[in-house]
């Protein structure tokens, strides 16, 4: 299992990259409560997919492992992508 702080750092690194593609008013705040997918989220479908594949790459780079995050779970209720906090927990528990 990955250290929570390390998972959070990876999520924030990916947010930095995606934010550079967004107008200032739509940039994601680096906060556990920030919504990624769902009501109140500012990413469109291209932004979400770009963000998730970027996360997969960064997890792979950091831990020499592969995780598959881009799947149907992204869009269901209680998705781990609902907030940055939930996503960080999901990555920390999935990346072995």
């Amino acid at each position: 299992m990955m250290d929570h702080d390390e998972a959070l750092r990876i999520v924030y690194d990916a947010i930095d990259v995606v934010n550079r593609q967004l107008p200032a008013s739509k940039r994601l705040h680096k906060s556990p409560d920030t919504v990624i997918v769902g009501a109140g989220g500012s990413l469109d479908s291209l932004g979400i997919v770009t963000f998730v594949i970027l996360l997969e790459e960064k997890v792979g780079e950091a831990f020499g492992t592969t995780v598959q995050l881009l799947d149907e779970q992204m869009l269901v209720e209680d998705s781990p992508f609902q907030s940055i906090g939930a996503l960080t927990h999901y990555i920390a528990t999935r990346a072995m």
Partner: protein, 566 residues
């Protein structure tokens, strides 16, 4: 001086991520638009949204060139057919470019995981990599005579991103195979190109000395004790950095020194150390003293007649960097690595020097600045400025716009800020079209004196309407300002008016943040201000010639002193 850019994207993949990055980070005030999804050729035929739009045309080779697609599936390579297809594609781009401001075409690349035929991949007639290289060269060759089209080396973007530049997963999910790492490099290069075209490229690098051009503190160890060159990896790194700076100077970027040191000690090192790649003559100027560096930079910029937005400052001290950033925010102060082995890479990664032209004036700019130092030292020795100017033997050669001076004229149009009446920014094709109109007259001015040749440094553009002539453009490089070349240009402009029987010459000054020196000149030029209600308009009654300044000889393009006035 900056203006909002408009950038249109045509691609055979989902290019929206690039458009978003450009609009939100690279050029934050840019307007972007995407061509409708679909085949490339109809999008090229439809043209850009308007003539003031630039465009990026980015395609994949296997969807653009059928012969290449067949080669990828191990069919026999038909080089002639592939190159014919490339030329047809280039012709479509050229037609599109005639309706756009500028066009950027990234070269074709293959995914890093495609090994083609391995050891045979560069064999002519067999290898896919060899075919792709030939196609890219043919594309660049076919577009070489279209000055507003720039073929960009996308290979560097992928090399910088490494294996992470290309994602099949991203392709399957979004129809864009290029990751954010490549997109960011692409956007930065496109932004740098647009900056260069708009005249926003940096023109001066100001350098610290100790632990930047050499290792160690020369004031403590003397010139024989500094680390530079020789059989030492650190010394090699400093010498290599100096060579990279010298190459940059050959592109037309000036070098200067701003260092806390004893001047005589530092200059002795520059003059005498056998491994110095840069000598005193390579620097446009210097401030080597114990004063505040921000003040020294401001003084040096004033001496060189350059604005702070033209300059880059390199210093190994984080404190000095912070001081200059805070005091003169327009100066670009890059973060600088501690390890000298990374200096060359740090310099090479700066994207602020890109220019759409490389002219003879660029290559000899250092010599010109050295000549200027000689001129200024002469000023101290003579009694008055007028005597000094007469001693310079200034000659101004007047030529119409022609193929041989078009590059430099367009460059001057897009770089000149201070002595610039209207600050029109025109691309090369726009300039050619404007100058070709029968009611227009565009003249260039080359300036030389006994110290050297300053090159093509002035432009006058006139528009004739009935009995009135309008001075549309009046621009002069800061490097020759204040030597009565301005008056010589007005002398020639009025002579043109008289030759075409215009009764008045009318000059309308259009203010910018930087061109106040031009307004000052026109106020003292002898042209009369128009009615008080009409601000910044100056008139000359062309029934009278405008006197040529005594210290300037005006020559025609054959080098013969000319009495231009009819």
């Amino acid at each position: 001086m900056s203006r909002s850019e408009r950038l249109y994207f045509i691609a055979d993949f989902n290019v929206e991520t690039l458009a978003r990055y450009v609009a939100n980070t690279t050029l934050a005030d840019a307007e972007t638009a995407l061509a409708p999804p679909g085949p490339i050729m109809p999008a090229l035929a439809a043209g850009p949204p308007g003539p003031d739009w630039s465009a990026v045309v980015w395609t994949r080779p296997e969807t653009t060139i059928e012969a290449f697609r067949r080669a990828l599936t191990c069919h026999e390579i038909d080089l002639d057919r592939a190159l014919d297809e490339v030329r047809a594609y280039a012709a479509a781009i050229a037609q599109f470019a005639a309706r756009a401001r500028s066009v950027f075409v990234p070269i074709w690349v293959s995914p890093p995981f495609e090994r083609g035929l391995g050891m045979l991949d560069y064999r002519p007639g067999i290898g896919q990599a060899q075919l792709l290289a030939r196609m890219n060269l043919a594309l660049a060759d076919a577009l070489r005579n279209h000055p507003s089209v720039f073929v960009l080396d996308a290979g560097r973007w992928f090399a910088s991103a490494g294996s992470r530049g290309w994602s099949q997963k991203l392709w399957y999910a979004t129809k864009s195979p290029f990751t954010s790492a490549v997109i960011e490099h692409a956007a930065s290069d496109i932004g740098a190109a647009l900056d260069g075209i708009a005249g926003r490229a940096r023109r001066l690098v100001m350098l610290d000395l100790d632990n930047v051009l050499w290792g160690g503190v020369v004031g403590e160890v003397g010139w024989t004790g500094i680390t530079l060159g020789g059989h030492d990896h650190v010394g090699e790194a400093f010498a290599d950095f100096q060579r990279a700076l010298k190459t940059l100077a050959a592109r037309g970027v000036q070098l200067a020194l701003v260092s806390r040191n004893d001047e005589a000690t530092a200059l002795e090192a520059i003059d005498r150390h056998p491994e110095m790649q840069l000598r005193r003559g390579d620097f446009a100027g210097w401030r080597i003293n114990w004063e505040d560096k921000a003040r020294n930079i401001a003084d040096l910029l004033a001496e060189l007649n350059l604005g702070s937005e033209s300059a880059v400052f390199v210093d190994d001290s984080a404190i000095e960097r912070a001081r200059v950033r805070s005091a003169i925010p327009d100066v670009l102060v890059p973060e600088w690595p501690e390890d000298p082995a990374r200096f060359r890479e740090a310099l090479g990664s700066l994207r602020c020097f890109d220019s759409p032209f490389l002219t003879g004036e660029d290559r000899t700019r250092t010599t010109m600045f050295a000549a200027e130092r000689s001129r200024r030292s002469g000023l101290v020795a003579v009694a008055s400025v007028e005597e000094w100017l007469e001693s310079l033997d200034i000659r101004v050669t007047v030529e119409p716009l022609a193929d041989g001076n078009l590059d430099r004229a367009a460059q001057l149009f897009n770089k000149t800020n201070q002595m610039n009446l209207a600050t029109r920014r025109l691309s090369k094709p726009e300039l050619e079209v404007w100058a070709a109109a029968p009611e227009h007259c565009l003249l260039t001015f080359r300036v030389c004196d006994r110290f050297g040749d300053s090159g093509l440094t002035g432009i006058v553009g006139l528009r004739f309407e009935a009995s009135e002539a309008h001075l549309v453009d009046f621009l002069l490089s800061c490097r020759v300002m204040g030597r009565h070349v301005e008056e010589a240009m007005l002398h020639v402009a009025v002579a043109q008016c008289r030759a075409r029987r215009a009764s008045t010459l009318r000059a309308e000054f259009r203010p910018t943040a930087r061109n106040n020196p031009c307004l000052d000149f026109f106020r003292r030029s002898g042209l009369r201000a128009a009615a008080a209600a009409v601000e910044n308009v100056f008139i000359w009654n062309a029934s009278q010639p405008y006197e040529r300044p005594r210290s300037v000889t005006v020559l025609d393009q054959t080098g013969v002193a000319t009495a231009l006035d009819p």
